[in-house]
Amino acid sequence: MLRFRNLLGALVLGAGALLSAAPARAAGEAVAIPDTRFSFDGIFGTFDRASLQRGFQVYKEVCSACHSMHLLSYRNLLEIGFTGDQARALAAQFQVMDGPNDQGEMFERPARLSDRFRRPFPNDQAARAANNGALPPDLSVIVKARPGGADYIHALLTGYSDPPEGFQLGQGMNYNKYFPGHQIAMPNVLNPGQVQFADGTEGSVENMAHDVSSFLAWAAEPELEQRRRMGVRIILFLVVIGGLTYAVKRKVWADVH
């Protein structure tokens, strides 16, 4: 019996070791991504609303020129702490396509809360045509879609530099330390002071990258806080009922052993 338990333990450990190797395989040959400290790290982490709002501002003023986030709606801004009026005002800054109207024509109008985030290009072909043949990916779930998640986004945004001696950079490409293959079509878009934050936070590249990474992490997993809160409660509940059940089991089996 005892020996068998050991065997089982070894198997479980073995399986665990295998599975933990899984993320490594996906990272491929890319440089190790530095670990950034985010407020939502760890199992009890939550989003920093001020950071998310600043991150949205960075997205709005910088990223949204090329990248869509078509899974998000302006109403979602209420979830990161904007008031209804603020969110309505932010939405109204964008013109979205609506229609057809009674004349059968499409028309533009200011966005409402129920509208999806405006797409910068009408379709993928237009996006490629405007971007030297490269398609800027939709950012709605980018943090879930990249190994390393928010850490990777942060590293990528701060990883631009001149190529090392002898590195052959393709036409229209940019060198980035953390992009797989180091050649990325996206230029370095964050420059110091580019975004003026209303709350007085310094518009440094580091701050902008950090905030927009947080914002994208929230956009990819808006359920994260609710999920973790619920998880803690459910596991506590299970531990208690598990103890009770085990006690009942001991009692039931007492006269057999």
Binding site: L113, S114, D115, I241, L244, V248, K251, V252, A254, D255
Partner: protein, 186 residues
Amino acid sequence: MAEAVVSHGTAPEGGAKETRRDFLKLTAGAFAAVGVGAVVWPFIHSMNPARDVLALASTEVDLSPIATGQAVTVMWRGKPVFVRNRTPQEIEQARAVPLGELRDPQPDQARVQRDNWLVVLGVCTHLGCVPLGQKPTDARGEYGGWFCPCHGSHYDTSGRIRRGPAPLNLEVPTYTFTSDTQIRIG
């Protein structure tokens, strides 16, 4: 049971054991029941309207092309909304009715924001059919409003139920006049 207890030792101890086991069983059972109950809710709630459904797009209606005596039907929340530009006679007719005669008593003034514009959900309060009366050629029923062909409910020029099986007046949605010639429903 009793024999099993006796074989374990003296009776008083055994009795205490039994009580404790029952208590444990009850507690564990109660916890399990709470757990099952808590599990059922997410399944049920997932069938309620989702957040994107609740954040409905509101519908805007341009009133300028609707001449007096005409009506248009617009879609809102997947249902028809009747917008009618009533004639003075129709308004008069609606306001002349004593409230006591009505099945669902409501003065016409409480059902409109501007006298000539009547905005109601085009859904019969009986079983959800769309009443006739929007087109000039439609049957409008005996009270000049709408007539539901499914089970014969008659509505008046204020959309109030007058005859037939429907229990309530046609529902008035929330809407606001954004200008003199435009309303936003929802």
